[in-house]
Subunit: 346 residues, 2 copies
Amino acid sequence: MKDFTFTATCAIAAVLAAPALANDDLRAFSNDLFAPIPMSTPDIAGNIISRQRVDLGAMLFFDPRMSRSGLFSCQSCHNVGLGGVDGLTTSIGHGWQQGPRNSPTVYNAVFNIAQFWDGRAADLAEQAMGPVQAGVEMNNTPDRLLETLSSMEDYVAAFQEAFPGEAEPVTFQNFALAIEAFEATLTTPNSRFDQFLNGADTLNEQEIRGLQSFIDEGCAACHAGVNMGGQDYYPFGLVERPGANVLPEGDRGRFEVTRTATDDYVFRASPLRNIELTAPYFHSGVVWSLEEAVAVMGVAQLGADLSEDQIADIAAFLRTLTGEIPQVVHPVLPPSTDATPRPEPM
Amino acid sequence: MKDFTFTATCAIAAVLAAPALANDDLRAFSNDLFAPIPMSTPDIAGNIISRQRVDLGAMLFFDPRMSRSGLFSCQSCHNVGLGGVDGLTTSIGHGWQQGPRNSPTVYNAVFNIAQFWDGRAADLAEQAMGPVQAGVEMNNTPDRLLETLSSMEDYVAAFQEAFPGEAEPVTFQNFALAIEAFEATLTTPNSRFDQFLNGADTLNEQEIRGLQSFIDEGCAACHAGVNMGGQDYYPFGLVERPGANVLPEGDRGRFEVTRTATDDYVFRASPLRNIELTAPYFHSGVVWSLEEAVAVMGVAQLGADLSEDQIADIAAFLRTLTGEIPQVVHPVLPPSTDATPRPEPM
């Protein structure tokens, strides 16, 4: 009787332990492929993430006077309340022009190997210099932007505090560095998947199956690392090129940066952090459903006709990548002066 | 000698006391004309300023999906970081249309007798229903807006919490009430002038002279009360009609609301709180300098050719009306779902 009880107890324990053991294997393997978002703001080579620089960066990020029209700020297309994107197929810019590609999220962008869908900016500071000058976006010039900033003494003082010891701190480079410093704080740690990586059993059975499929089917070959993507470049349509609605022929991706034939229709693998918040998907921004996006990727990149159950499982897993959105206080911006260039909407 | 010392001391004391006494008289008179912004959120008849309702209102205020294009939110034209306005002559709306009038500030708008330049909305809730439907602004419909809100369970839950006990809380009326509740918190107490009203000597000599002129020249006849304006309607050009650049002939103001001849070119007197933050000025938004705005008002409303010194003094006084801007945390908005209407920029 005693033995039977002992044996039965052990058997039950073994059954109960089996999924946990499997989870631990999967966790160990996952920790080889991925990494949790750090709980604190990462360091950035060539920048100093001081409180003053972050605060100035927040002002610049939210100030629509950085655009020629006075309507657009960084926040317009990288909305901190909307997963760091604008939720549009492609962004609306100066004069109601529509941009060529879907706006990527600013959240965790600091962990990407490079910025933009084609990686044409090495870091967030270089990225910040792009949209303010793009005619289809903010349509401003560095000179006009610096004239705007220099016209407000509170901005000049904020640059002095953020870049101490510099004789002329109000520069386009420092504008970009301050925005980079602010954006470095826009990370979303502690997702349920990160808690899983750190040893907690936070994923349900479907999400575990989804993670297993994500690895087994090959998704993790491109979507790995701390951002589950954003680390390298791959042809969209590695196995089978999607239709022109998803992959417009006019946009050849990284080829336009490198002019190298092998970079034709090559894009940076999209980071998957907070993916449930950042529809619509792909550089073309035409796919609204996460499940549809998973199916498209399966066919185009893996040559895999994923089953509906697999797609549902993978999508459920991807929804565990939603982290804690940082609290952002809307900055109070200095008033324009007589020397501030007037908005030019036309 | 003793007497002399006594007399001299008294004389010095009298001289030193004289401006303070004058200030006290001016303060007493000012307290009859004006009132400080209350330190706490005011009550609103027909609304309940609960935490849940304010939080929901903040979400709605900042959500660009309230517009058809997905680009505009209340915040676009009433930027909490820019004195509650957009800093444009007239706002840019759907399809890059420009609105007919300058965007009024949302700060302290709760204290106005009615909303819009022509007072056509009785309160902030009624106001909130306007821009979302205006073709030139957000170009949405109540049905489409409610479809958007109902498609996200976090919004439905937030409405349930903000309007407890209601069977169908997601209504256009409740949308407006929640925004009104949030906007009621957007007050800016404790300006230097309010501190003066409350007994502190926070104004310098020029600002005191400006206050005296503001009263003596008759500005306070229309710009009185807690908001120093916003309480009644007056013809723009009471004494002398300004040029068509400042007073465009096509905009007949309150006449378009009441169809009464005496309301021709009648507008609500602009509230002057935080006026240094809200350029450009007037319903036409064509005057950028506060000094120029004061001069225009002098001629048009008072028939007074104010001297340059008087204008400088009054402008200096008006800059003491800048209050403490409340801290606004950018809300985190729920993600769209498959049932959320897609943005329609075109």
